[in-house]
Subunit: 509 residues, 2 copies
């Protein structure tokens, strides 16, 4: 059987650009995983890891022109957005290098013997070690930041774990390009090329998750694809952690007072957020609870004006375009659903942004309108008009887990008068990030970031963005009564590496 | 259909002592979970949580006489061991109260806005919140420390999570007794009784893991039972974290030099560890790599003498006794396997300790001897005699994951001469705790403890003993641009609660 070709496709025309590779066979996946496994030793030294990450950032930046051009040709995301995304990706690699240098992520805890404890405590010293080879499943919508050199790869390498990346079919040429740059950076530090493996093909992705030497996986994509891989990871003879980011509706609650105070700004802000990147963000606000009545009407008018002004855009691929067109049509066809600005097919290769409106009461109990509580990828949102707080609570109680939840408050509410704190507490169980008077698109790379949330937002309690993402690829180990001469430097009393740690109960920083 | 009775059984006679309860129906499981869910609010205040944990410890200690008597009648573990285990359990509850007070487990991270970052960082504040109701599956072999008031319950309550405990059929009367004491402690702090639910019955345990309001589970038990529940947890429409401790061989490597130096002490120490508690510890050393030749012979002689001197003992139930008798017979019947002290049936209700010896070469490649690499619950261990380092490495490479791995080194090796550090590094991938010149039985409750390990030792990367066990029941949430007036006190700049935190990059303690 001939190997299946992997084509780079131009979404602006639907035409094949070039054949980039062939899909990996099971043998090729095995070879990639084994090469990654062999590269583990080269990542043990944290100084080398940090230097590798910084060189990777430098090399990616140096290749900016070619990378952005290739990415744009495959994704139609445009050079401005892609240049920004590449800068973010490089920033992220350097941020993880800093985290490696600091060493707090090793979670060093040391206990000297204590005979007063019940039972007595022997000499115990704990820190975290790398899990092993990490499988990384690239996202369609972030060809840089959630793909070959993205957050999963950066955090895994920072943790000392080689990666084998399953490329996304929407940008195979860029994937090859980025992998080449990363391997060049690795070579500068005498790290074997195998430290960043790359495979193409759906079946290759399935083989990858089943490979006995794969120790954990990171995934960004759809609920359907992510759940299938999660299930495969859990069904292995030796199950492995599967950190998947699958889908999110990202609800927004607009209070009556907020709508009364700044309907126009909220409508315009919402339009900007939901159409950003042609609505192809995992944190796109997909459901907005806005009040019925005049203030809500004003909000809808502002939203209508702003969305109507939005240019048609190209989605990442034609399958997504078909799904979007069918998805919005099905939703718009439900009883009591209006389309103030009709979303759908634009030109032959584009889509138009739009939004739907529905009485919140329609979403308060199980029924055909539950379709509106499912993510629809692309430039569309659903505005649910509520009569009172009870309806808001009823709708919120029916939502699956989310990456984000947002509330728009009035100035007084934000200052602590009214239900602001209460609403924040109501949104907290729904999401991993809760925003006040902002919009969820734009995910900062920061120590305090949490990009995750109750299922299906993520399949674990972890984050895929921010410093703590490194925790996903490590496990603790404790040494009992190991003589100092045999201990890793990280665990010695004298703390030769100057690590933050918990020493006999005290936090030392 | 009549409800199935739950009997308390005396393992010393195999006779039923009393009917304790009936197995919970699906409706009763549902009621227990809902009651626990309703109790969440009462655990939000950390001061109340800590006080509750301390009162629980006080109340358990006050009930010591009755508790130990009941436990001994059901488990035959003896009053000395059980009194110690109860003390450990109370110590553990108090240790988690201290952890709650300190607040480091909330992992507070605060970032003020930073426009120099790429992309710019908004105001972001992250900490951890409780997951919700935790299902706890009790262990047979630790009626106090890994059961109703054990580590899973203590850490879950400390995390703010109510629990529903599935009792172990080996000690249902004690389970009811302990639950009653915990509920009395809860009542003292106006916490609803439902905060500690208790259900009996295999089917009830299956219902419990499937319940939509159960947010996570802790389990200590067999590979078979744990894997079935893990699979059920993963197969839910909304999968949940399942922290299971399933099984472990706990390998021990004795170097040639160590055997030459102190064969007798090692033999005696091993005998003590493998027969402790009638060999019913999850950290029982189940495979010992000892050198061939004279030094190894001396070790075996010492082991033979010590094990021969061990009294017959009563296992936790008759099914375990049957499994032990059949398991050791099957192992002893393999080619090239000797039984220097034959383990097996003792009296009508007891078992005799023993051990098997086999050339390590028999374990170096796949074959019928793989049975020796499976845990056999009870007072038996397997001594594999090796000719050289290559055989040691070959056997280690074939082991599944373990809770512990131990090395016995000579004085010189422990001081850094020879292969000590290298062996430590070889054992680290195999286990969650690595010991030098000690024995794995005895698991201290300490911040630096890690009681977990690669699968099947545990189904996650977490620990079930020690301070970090609390992490299992929490998830992070980040607030973006939330005004100070609306923020939880834990996340305010002025740090009114004095929490350790990471503030604009700096670690504050």
């Amino acid at each position: 059987m001939a190997a299946a070709p992997v084509w780079s496709v131009d979404p602006r025309t639907g035409k094949q650009r070039e054949q980039v590779a062939v899909e990996a066979t099971a043998q090729e996946v095995d070879a990639a995983v084994r090469a990654a496994h062999e590269a583990r030793g080269a990542l043990v030294d944290r100084t080398v890891r940090a230097a590798f990450l910084r060189t990777a950032a430098d090399e990616l930046q140096a290749a900016k022109g070619g990378l952005v051009e290739t990415a744009d040709a495959e994704t139609a995301l445009g050079p401005v957005r892609l240049t920004g995304e590449l800068a973010r990706t490089c920033y992220q690699l350097r941020a993880f290098a800093d985290i490696v240098d600091e060493g707090a992520f090793l979670d060093v805890v040391i206990n000297h013997p204590d005979d007063t404890a019940t039972p007595p405590i022997p000499d115990l010293r704990r820190y975290k070690v790398s899990l092993g080879v990490v499988a990384v499943y690239s996202a369609s919508n972030f060809p840089f930041a959630f793909s070959v050199a993205g957050g999963d790869t950066a955090s895994a390498l920072a943790a000392g774990c080689p990666v084998v990346v399953k490329s996304h079919p929407d940008h195979p040429a860029l994937s090859e390009y980025v992998a080449k740059v990363l391997r060049r950076a690795a070579a500068r530090h005498d790290i074997p090329e195998g430290v960043v493996g790359l495979v193409h093909g759906f079946e290759a992705g399935v083989e990858l998750i089943k490979h006995p030497l794969v120790a954990a996986a990171g995934f960004t994509g759809s609920v359907r694809g992510g759940r299938a891989l999660f299930d495969a990871a859990a069904a292995r003879p030796v199950p492995i952690p599967f950190h998947g980011e699958l889908g999110s509706l990202n609800p927004v609650v607009v209070t009556e007072a907020a709508a009364a105070e700044r309907a126009e700004a909220i409508g315009a802000g919402l339009a900007g957020s939901m159409t950003l990147g042609v609505g192809q963000f995992c944190v796109k606000p997909g459901l907005v609870l806005a009040p019925a009545g005049a203030a809500g009407d004003a909000l809808l008018k502002s939203l209508t004006d702003a969305v109507s002004d939005t240019d048609a855009g190209v989605l990442l691929d034609h399958r997504m375009r078909d799904n979007f067109v069918a998805g919005v049509a099905e939703r718009a066809g439900l009883p009591d659903v209006d389309s103030p600005v009709t979303p759908g097919a634009g030109g032959e290769h584009t889509v138009s942004a739009g939004f739907l409106a529905v009485p919140a009461s329609r979403l308060a109990a199980e029924g055909e309108h539950d379709l509106l509580l499912e993510e629809c990828f692309g430039p569309v949102t659903v505005v649910a008009r509520y009569e009172d707080e009870t309806e808001v609570k009823a709708v919120l109680s029916r939502l699956p887990g989310n990456l984000t939840a947002t509330v728009q408050l009035s100035e007084e509410e934000a200052a602590g008068q009214g239900r602001g704190a209460e609403i924040l507490a109501e949104l907290t169980p729904l999401a991993g990030r809760v925003l006040v008077n902002g919009w969820p698109t734009g995910v900062a790379v920061a120590p305090a970031q949490h990009h995750g949330g109750p299922y299906p937002a993520t399949t674990s309690t972890s984050t895929s963005v921010g410093g703590t993402a490194i925790e996903r690829w490590m496990r603790p180990v404790a040494y009992q009564n190991a003589p100092s001469a045999l201990l890793p430097a990280e665990l010695r009393d004298e703390n030769p590496l100057g690590l933050p740690r918990r020493f006999n109960g005290r936090l030392e920083r």
